[in-house]
Symmetry: C2
Subunit: 220 residues, 2 copies
């Protein structure tokens, strides 16, 4: 073994943070393409997805090798098995950003329904959740993890608000149905990214405090 376990762990954290940075950028470009009606921005999303996919394989490998080589004790083992799960969460967030880019391309075939305000605002919150959940994980910061859970409730409220507004459009004028439906799907994709960030935050709270909140917040 040429490197110390702690160095390897530090490197793993850097790679996870880099991956979450990519996912944030994907989300940013996808929503910007949608809000500013710039189809060309979606190509950035597809390009970065390839990188995210490669990273997922690399990070999975790193985690397995670290467990097999160093046979870490309880806390480090839990960190590494969580890293494997978080790696999947990040990759799926990337998939959702791709879905948003796809909806964006669909939407550009139609005239705009209205100036988009709630969707970019929600996307901003969701981006913050992604960043905070990963920061909370690498630092073991339980307070930061709780802010992610709080933001998830806000995103859920926004999703309901967006749904009601778009339903209103559809009921008032059936010509809006196709566009409004796509926008509803976009807000669901955003919600799914928020859910993935929430899964990460719940894992962090579990790892740090030993308290399992996964089946607690669901019932609030």
């Amino acid at each position: 073994m040429t490197k110390h376990f702690d160095d390897e762990l530090a490197e793993l954290k850097v790679r996870l943070l880099y991956m979450s940075g990519l996912v944030e950028e994907m989300l940013g470009f996808a929503v910007k393409a949608l809000a500013e009606r710039k189809a060309e921005l979606t190509s950035e999303v597809f390009k970065k997805e390839e990188e995210v996919n490669k990273l997922q394989v690399e990070i999975d490998d790193r985690c397995l090798k670290l467990i097999a080589l160093y046979q870490p004790a309880a806390a480090d083992l839990r960190f590494l098995t969580s890293a494997i799960k978080i790696n999947s969460e990040l990759e799926r967030m990337g998939d959702q950003a791709v879905n948003i880019a796809g909806s964006g391309l669909e939407l550009l075939k139609h005239p705009p329904l209205k100036k988009l305000i709630d969707i970019p605002y929600t996307a901003g919150l969701v981006k913050e959740m992604v960043r905070s959940s990963l920061d909370a994980f690498v630092r073991g910061d339980i307070e930061l993890a709780h802010t992610v859970l709080a933001n998830d409730s806000k995103v859920d409220e926004l999703k309901e608000q967006i749904f009601r507004e778009l339903l209103f459009f559809m009921l008032a004028d059936q010509k809006t149905i196709t566009v409004a439906l796509q926008l509803i799907l976009v807000s669901r994709h955003l919600e799914r990214i928020a859910d993935h960030a929430t899964n990460i935050a719940e894992d962090v709270i579990f790892i740090v405090s030993g308290k399992d909140v996964r089946h607690h917040f669901k019932y609030i």
Copy 2:
């Protein structure tokens, strides 16, 4: 250590299969409640979700203890870290069944749009995918895993077909919008369960063959 590693592994497999059985039942009840307009069936879904949540914690614990106690070599280690991921997938499938039950309760507030055919049919396919993905995992059956991927394409097609049909209803008569939207959401929940089963099947192919198909099937 009172038990042999292989016995523990066998027990873990039994628990995972039991958990997937519960998820299948949840899905069955949720869709039956919807199709037969029987609100009382949804309570079965909520009851079983609690059991699934408890199982998730138990199975996570089992996996971590097995890794820590026996420090298994490459193949077993990969199996156990995959079991941790699959455990999450199953729990999230349960969440989607709960979402379907919720949509069912919403739909019962309105007169039926039409006799539901495609949704129960899709649900049948999805249930089969859940069962096959878990069977493939515990047996390391790569052929069975491939049937899951094939069914996922069918589910995607059905989802598009359901979407087009419901869009047609909405465009023809705006009084159908609320109900049609809920049904679209139900078909998306079903698709998400299918996606989770697909994730499991891709993991199985990866574990057994060492071939990473996760970022292959997405582009087909």
